[in-house]
C-alpha cells in the first residue's frame, strides 16, 4: 500500500518537475534577464479589421496586433485629417480592439482609404473599393438573406438529390463512378474552403494571430473529431447494410452543411462590407455549383431504401446552413468566425471523402480502376468549371 502511494507521488512529481523548471525559466526571462534578449526596437502595429459606412459616420474597428501597447492619435479619410471619437479610449493594450467613429458625409460607391495614425506618427491604412451603407439588422434584410440562402443553398442541393432515382437504377460500375465523382466533388470543395480561409486570413487578420495555422489546426481537429465520433457511432450501432450508407450520407450532409455555412458567411459578408454587387449571375453560378453537392449526398444512399422525408432532411442539413451563414456574415461579420467555419467545413469534407474511399475499397478491394479514377477526375473538373461561374 505504502509502496503504491510512494510510486504514485513519484509519478506525479516527475510529471510536474519540468513544469516547475519552465516556470522558473519564464520568471527569469521576464525578470532579471529581461534586458538580455531584447534585440532591436519593438515596432507598434495595428490592424484595421473593419470599415463600416453609416449615415454621416464611418466606423472603423482597430486592433492592436503588435508586440507593445499603442496610443491612437489621429484618424484620416483619404489622407485628410478628420476629427474623430474613439471608444472606449485611445489606449490599446496588446490584442485590444477599439471603435473609431469618424463623422463624414461619404458618397455611395466611391472608394475611400481610412488612415489611423499612432502617437509615434506612423500611419496605417485600409482601402475600401466602394462605400456601401452598412447593413442594419432588420427583418426585411434578414428575409432577403434567407431568399438568397435558399436559392444558393437549399434549392440546388434538392435538385442534385433528384438524381437519386437515376443513380438507383444504374449498374455497379456506374454506381462506383458516381461515388468516386462524389469524392472528386468533395476534394475540390475542401481545397476551395481552405483557399478561401487563407485569403480571408491574409486580407483581414494580422500575422500576430497566425491565421494560416488556425485554419490548419481547426481543419485537422474537425477532421479527427468527426472521424473519431463516426467510427464510434458506426461500431456501436450494430452495422446493417442499410444504416451505414445512410450514416455516410448524413456525414456528407453535415460536412457540406458546414461548408455551405462558410459559403453563406462569405456571401453575407461580401454584401455587408460592400465588396460585391450581388448579381443574378453570381447567384446562378453558386446555384449551379451547389447542385453538385446534392449528387454527393445522393450517391452513397442510392442503393438503400430511404424514406423520402429522410432524404429531404439530408438536403436541408446540407443546404439550410447557407441561410444561417448569410445572416452571421451580413450582420455580425468577423474574419475569425469566417475562417473557423470554413476550416471546420474543410475538415468535415476531408473526413467524409476518406470514408467513401474506404467504403469503395472495402467493396472493390482496389481503388485503381477506370470507374473510380475517372469519377474522381470528372468530379473535380465539374467543380472547376462551375466554379468559374462564381
Amino acid at each position: 500500500m505504502e509502496e503504491i502511494k510512494k510510486s504514485r507521488i513519484r509519478l506525479i512529481a516527475s510529471g510536474l518537475i519540468p513544469f516547475a523548471f519552465l516556470i522558473v525559466m519564464m520568471l527569469y526571462l521576464f525578470g532579471p534577464s529581461s534586458g538580455l534578449l531584447e534585440f532591436g526596437v519593438p515596432l507598434p502595429e495595428i490592424t484595421i479589421e473593419k470599415v463600416e459606412f453609416l449615415e454621416y459616420e464611418i466606423h472603423v474597428t482597430v486592433r492592436n496586433t503588435g508586440p507593445i501597447p499603442v496610443v491612437i492619435a489621429m484618424a484620416d479619410v483619404n489622407d485628410r485629417i478628420q476629427p474623430a471619437a474613439i471608444e472606449p479610449d485611445k489606449f490599446l493594450e496588446r490584442f485590444e480592439s477599439v471603435l473609431v467613429r469618424i463623422p463624414f458625409s461619404w458618397n455611395t460607391s466611391e472608394p475611400y482609404t481610412i488612415g489611423i495614425t499612432l502617437d509615434d506618427g506612423v500611419r496605417f491604412e485600409k482601402f475600401t473599393e466602394a462605400a456601401t451603407p452598412a447593413i442594419k439588422s432588420d427583418y426585411e434584410l434578414a428575409g432577403f438573406f434567407a431568399i438568397i440562402g435558399t436559392y444558393v443553398g437549399i434549392i440546388p442541393v434538392m435538385i442534385g438529390l433528384l438524381w437519386l432515382p437515376f443513380i438507383k437504377r444504374i449498374g455497379k460500375n456506374k454506381y462506383n463512378f458516381f461515388l468516386a465523382l462524389t469524392v472528386g466533388l468533395l476534394f475540390f470543395l475542401g481545397i476551395d474552403a481552405l483557399l478561401e480561409g487563407f485569403e480571408i486570413s491574409k486580407e483581414n487578420i494580422s500575422a500576430a494571430f497566425n491565421g494560416e495555422l488556425l485554419i490548419i489546426t481547426v481543419t485537422l481537429l474537425s477532421f479527427l473529431g468527426l472521424y473519431y465520433s463516426a467510427e464510434k457511432l458506426t461500431s456501436r450501432t450494430s452495422l446493417t447494410a442499410s444504416s451505414k450508407p445512410f450514416a455516410i450520407g448524413l456525414m456528407i450532409a453535415i460536412g457540406i452543411g458546414l461548408h455551405n455555412l462558410g459559403e453563406g458567411l462569405a456571401i453575407g459578408a461580401a454584401i455587408g462590407l460592400g465588396q460585391v454587387a450581388l448579381s443574378t449571375f453570381l447567384i446562378v453560378g453558386f446555384a449551379l455549383h451547389n447542385t453538385t453537392e446534392g449528387i454527393a449526398i445522393a450517391s452513397p444512399i442510392a442503393k438503400t431504401k430511404s424514406p423520402i422525408f429522410k432524404i429531404i432532411i439530408l438536403g436541408l442539413i446540407a443546404g439550410a446552413p447557407t441561410i444561417l451563414g448569410t445572416w452571421i456574415g451580413g450582420f455580425f461579420y468577423s474574419p475569425y468566425t469566417a475562417i473557423i467555419f470554413l476550416s471546420m467545413g474543410a475538415g468535415a469534407i476531408f473526413q467524409v471523402m476518406l470514408i467513401i474511399l474506404k467504403w469503395l475499397y472495402q467493396s472493390e478491394q482496389k481503388l485503381v480502376q477506370t470507374s473510380i479514377v475517372s469519377g474522381v477526375g470528372v468530379g473535380m473538373l465539374i467543380m472547376y468549371i462551375t466554379s468559374i461561374l462564381v
Binding site: Y56, E57, V71, I72, A73, M74, A75, D79, R80, I81, Q82, P83, A84, A85, I86, E87, P88, D89, K90, V98, L99, V100, R101, P103, S105, T117, D119, D120, G121, V122, R123
Partner: protein
C-alpha cells in the same frame, strides 16, 4: 475572512461607481459640417481642440531676435548671436503625435534672426547634437562662411560665422550637412531678416514658416503647418486690427512636395518676392512658393471678422496648414 469580504465589497463598489461614472460622462465635439457627436470615449481632434504643446506658435509669430549689439571702432554695428544645435528632442508636433525634432536653440523653426543691412553679424554656433551640423545662411557672404564645407562636429563642436548683413530681404538659414533632406525635414531651419537701413513703415509684423513633418518616413509629409503646429492658428486665431498695416515674412520650408502656396481670405496683399525690393511685384491673394522661396506680404483689413488663410493646395490645408485672422475694430482715439 470578514476583512477580506469587506475589502472585496468596498473595492467592487469603488470600481463599479467609477465605471458607471465613466459611462455617464459623455464628451461632445462639433465637426466642420456642424454635426454634434457624443461619445463616451476619447476625442481625437487636432482641428478644433485647443491643446497645449511644447512649442508656442503664437510667441514665435512675433518674436524677433536682434542679438547682443555693440559698435566696432569704425562705427559699424556688430550683432552677436549664440545658436545651439541639438538632435535628441522628442516633441509633440500635433496633439498626441510625437516626433524627434532637430533644433536650433530648442525650437522648430529656430530663432528669427533680425539685423539691418550693413551690420556685422556674428553667430557663435555650438553643436550639442550627436551628428555634425552647420548653419548655412542664404545671402551674400564669403565662401568659408557658407556652412557647407566646414561641418561642425557633434558634442560641443563650435564655429563662428561672421559676415556683413545683406542683401535686404527675408532669407532662410538651415543646416547643410548631408544627407541634407534629413537634416532639413527634422527641423534645422529658421528665418533671417535683413532690414533696409531706412526702416520699412511701422506695421504689425509676423513670421510664418511654412513647414511639414514626415512622421512615418515615407518621403511624404503627414502634417503641414504655418509655424510647425498643424491647425494651431485655426483654434488660436491671430488677433489683428482693422486699418492696421500687417507685414508677414513668409518662408516656405516644405520638403518632398514641389510647391506650396498662400491664400488670404477677404483681402489681397502686396507681395515683395524675397523682400529684396522695396516695390511690390504684385497685388494678389495667392502666391506659389517652391523650396525655400520666400517673400514679404503687406495688407490691411477694412472689415472686422474672421478670415481664413491657408494653402490652396487643399491637401496641405486639410493636414494642418490653415489658420485664422480675427480682425477687430480699431478703437478710434480711445480715452483722449
Amino acid at each position: 475572512m470578514l476583512m477580506l469580504t469587506a475589502i472585496i465589497g468596498i473595492s467592487t463598489i469603488i470600481v463599479f461607481t467609477s465605471f458607471s461614472e465613466a459611462q455617464l460622462e459623455q464628451k461632445t465635439f462639433v465637426t466642420h459640417s456642424g454635426q454634434i457627436i457624443k461619445t463616451s470615449g476619447d476625442v481625437l481632434d487636432p482641428l478644433y481642440t485647443a491643446s497645449t504643446v511644447e512649442f508656442d506658435p503664437m510667441r514665435y509669430l512675433r518674436e524677433f531676435n536682434y542679438g547682443r549689439v555693440s559698435q566696432l571702432s569704425d562705427g559699424t554695428i556688430l550683432r552677436e548671436f549664440t545658436i545651439i544645435a541639438e538632435d535628441n528632442k522628442i516633441q509633440e508636433i500635433s496633439p498626441g503625435v510625437f516626433y524627434n525634432v532637430w533644433t536650433f536653440n530648442g525650437t522648430v523653426p529656430g530663432p528669427t534672426i533680425r539685423v539691418t543691412e550693413g551690420d556685422v553679424v556674428r553667430i557663435n554656433f555650438i553643436n550639442n547634437g550627436s551628428k555634425s551640423h552647420t548653419i548655412h545662411f542664404h545671402g551674400i557672404h564669403q565662401a568659408e562662411m557658407d556652412g557647407v564645407f566646414e561641418p561642425v562636429g557633434p558634442s560641443g563642436g563650435q564655429f563662428t560665422y561672421e559676415f556683413i548683413a545683406g542683401p535686404v530681404g527675408v532669407h532662410p538659414y538651415h543646416c547643410h550637412v548631408m544627407p541634407l533632406e534629413e537634416h532639413i525635414v527634422h527641423g534645422l531651419y529658421g528665418v533671417f531678416i535683413v532690414d533696409p537701413k531706412e526702416a520699412r513703415p511701422q506695421a504689425d509684423e509676423m513670421v510664418m514658416v511654412l513647414n511639414g513633418f514626415d512622421t512615418d518616413f515615407d518621403t511624404e509629409n503627414n502634417f503641414y503647418a504655418a509655424n510647425t503646429i498643424p491647425f494651431y492658428y485655426q483654434h488660436h486665431p491671430i488677433q489683428i486690427s482693422t486699418g492696421e498695416l500687417i507685414r508677414i515674412y513668409v518662408v516656405n520650408m516644405v520638403e518632398f512636395d514641389p510647391i506650396n502656396n498662400f491664400h488670404l481670405h477677404g483681402n489681397l496683399y502686396q507681395y515683395y518676392p524675397t523682400g529684396t525690393s522695396l516695390v511690390p511685384s504684385t497685388f494678389t491673394d495667392m502666391i506659389t512658393l517652391s523650396q525655400t522661396e520666400r517673400g514679404i506680404m503687406e495688407f490691411q483689413y477694412t472689415y472686422p471678422g474672421k478670415y481664413l488663410f491657408h494653402a490652396h493646395k487643399v491637401e496641405f490645408s486639410e493636414k494642418g496648414w490653415v489658420g485664422l485672422f480675427l480682425v477687430q475694430e480699431t478703437k478710434e482715439s480711445s480715452g483722449e
